[in-house]
C-alpha cells in the first residue's frame, strides 16, 4: 500500500463521516449545544468580575478544558459507535484495515474539536471577559492538546463500540487516560493567556501526542478488527 493510496483512503473515511454529519448534524449540534449551555451557565454563575484578576487565569483555563473535555465526550465517541449501531461496521471492516479507519475517523473528530474550540474560546472571552495575550501560543496549545484528546477519544470509541453501556464506559475510561494531558493543557493555556508559550507543559503535551499516536496505531487492529 503506497503512502498516497493510504492518505486517499484515510481521507475517504473522513469525508464520509463529514458527509454523514452534514446530512444529520447530530454530533455537531449536540456538542455545540452542550458547549453553549455550559458557557451560558458558567457566565451567569461566575460572571466577568466574580474573581480577583490574578485568580482568573487559572479559573478560565480550567473552565476551558472542562468545557472542551465534556463537549468532546458528547460527540467524539460516535465515530465508531454509530458504525456498530447501524450495522455498517462489517462493510467497513471488509473494506479497510483498522489503522486507516481509525486515522480517517480521528481526522474527522479533529475537525469537530476545532469547531468546538472555535465556539468555546471566543465564548469564554466574551462572557467571562477572558483576555488572551498571545493568540498564536493559545492556538498552538489548542492544536497540540486537541490532537491528543482526539486521538485518545477516537481510539477509545473503537474499543468500547461493541461493549454494553458504551457511553458510560467511554467517559470512565477516557477520564484517567486524559488527566495528564488535561493538566498540562491547563498549565499551557494559563501561560498562553499571559503571553508565553510554556516549555515544560508543552513538552508533556507533545510527548503525550506522540505516545497516543503510537499506541493507537499499534492497537487499532486489535480494537476494531475481529
Amino acid at each position: 500500500m503506497s503512502g498516497s493510496n493510504a492518505l486517499a483512503r484515510i481521507w475517504a473515511v473522513c469525508a464520509k463521516d463529514a458527509a454523514q454529519e452534514a446530512r444529520r448534524r447530530i454530533a455537531l449540534a449536540s456538542v455545540l449545544f452542550f458547549a453553549a449551555t455550559a458557557l451560558t451557565l458558567v457566565s451567569f454563575a461566575i460572571g466577568p468580575a466574580g474573581f480577583a484578576k490574578e485568580e482568573r487565569g487559572q479559573l478560565h483555563a480550567a473552565m476551558l478544558w472542562v468545557l472542551l473535555f465534556f463537549s468532546s465526550a458528547t460527540g467524539l465517541p460516535r465515530a465508531f459507535v454509530r458504525e456498530e449501531e447501524t450495522g455498517t461496521a462489517l462493510a467497513l471492516r471488509k473494506t479497510a484495515p483498522g489503522t486507516l479507519v481509525l486515522a480517517g475517523k480521528t481526522l474527522f473528530n479533529y475537525f469537530l474539536f476545532v469547531a468546538i474550540a472555535a465556539v468555546t474560546v471566543p465564548g469564554l472571552g466574551v462572557l467571562l471577559g477572558w483576555e488572551v495575550a498571545s493568540p498564536a501560543a493559545m492556538a498552538l496549545v489548542l492544536a497540540a492538546s486537541g490532537y491528543g484528546l482526539t486521538v485518545v477519544s477516537t481510539f477509545l470509541s473503537a474499543l468500547v463500540a461493541r461493549a454494553g453501556q458504551k457511553n458510560v464506559l467511554f467517559v470512565l475510561v477516557c477520564f484517567p487516560l486524559l488527566v495528564p494531558l488535561l493538566l498540562s493543557s491547563i498549565a499551557a493555556t494559563v501561560a498562553a493567556a499571559a503571553g508565553e508559550l510554556a516549555g515544560p507543559p508543552m513538552r508533556v503535551i507533545l510527548a503525550y501526542d506522540g505516545a497516543a499516536t503510537c499506541a493507537a496505531y499499534l492497537l487499532a487492529a486489535a480494537a476494531w478488527e475481529e
Partner: protein, 206 residues
C-alpha cells in the same frame, strides 16, 4: 492467472454452548461450494470466519494464489462477502455507498465504474436513491454488488436469494454461473434450490 484456493483447517467455533462446528476442514478450488444446514447450524458464522469478520476458536483459514498465501491487504481484496447483516449507510444513495467503499478499499471509483456495478445487479435506475428508501430485495442486490466490489476471486454469499424477486434471482444465477469458474464460490442457504449442481457440499449441524 494463478488458481485461487480457500482452505479451512480444523475450524471450531461455539457461542457459550455446544460447538457449532469442530475440526472442520476443507479445500475449495474453482467451483460452487454449497454450505448447507438447518437454521442455527453455523452457516453464517462459518462464512464470517472465512471472510475474517469473526475469529474461530481453533483452526485457521488460508487463501492462496497458486502456492503463495495471500496476506493482509491482498487477502482482504481477494475475498468478497455478503450476508444478511451487511448494512449500508442509509443516508447515502446506493451510488455513494459503492463509491465510498471502493475509495476506502483504495480502488478507483469513477462514475462509469460505479454505474457499471449498479447495472450488473439491476440497480442502475435507482442508483441515486437513498438506501434507507430501498426495499429488502433492493438491499439484497446491493449486497451482491458489494461482494463483487473488489473483483475478488473468492466469493462468499450467505443467503443471497432472501428477499429477491424473479429478476433478482436471475441476476444472481448469472453471477454464480460466471463466477464459479473464476474461483471458489461458497453459497450458504437453507433452500436446496439455491444450489445448482454444486461441485462440493459442506453440511453443517449433523
Amino acid at each position: 492467472m494463478l488458481a485461487t484456493t480457500l482452505e479451512a483447517r480444523e475450524l471450531s467455533k461455539s457461542f457459550s454452548g455446544p460447538p457449532l462446528f469442530s475440526g472442520l476442514s476443507f479445500l475449495a478450488g474453482a467451483g460452487l461450494v454449497a454450505v448447507a444446514g438447518r437454521n442455527g447450524s453455523g452457516k453464517t458464522t462459518l462464512l464470517k470466519i472465512l471472510a475474517r469478520l469473526l475469529r474461530p476458536e481453533n483452526g485457521s483459514v488460508r487463501v492462496a494464489a497458486g502456492d503463495r498465501e495471500l496476506l493482509g491487504e491482498e487477502r482482504r481484496r481477494a475475498v468478497g462477502w455478503a450476508g444478511p447483516d451487511l448494512a449500508f449507510y442509509e443516508d447515502f444513495t446506493a451510488r455513494e455507498n459503492l463509491r465510498f467503499f471502493r475509495r476506502a478499499a483504495g480502488l478507483p471509483a469513477a462514475e462509469a465504474e460505479i454505474d457499471a456495478r449498479l447495472a450488473r445487479v439491476g440497480l442502475a435506475a435507482v442508483g441515486g436513491r437513498r438506501v434507507g428508501a430501498f426495499s429488502t430485495g433492493m438491499k439484497q442486490r446491493l449486497r451482491l454488488a458489494f461482494a463483487l466490489l473488489m473483483d475478488p476471486p473468492v466469493l462468499l454469499l450467505d443467503e443471497p436469494t432472501a428477499g429477491l424477486d424473479d429478476e433478482g434471482r436471475e441476476i444472481l444465477a448469472a453471477v454464480v454461473a460466471e463466477r464459479r469458474a473464476a474461483g471458489p464460490l461458497l453459497l450458504a442457504s437453507n433452500d436446496v434450490r439455491d444450489f445448482v449442481a454444486p461441485d462440493q457440499t459442506i453440511r453443517l449441524g449433523r
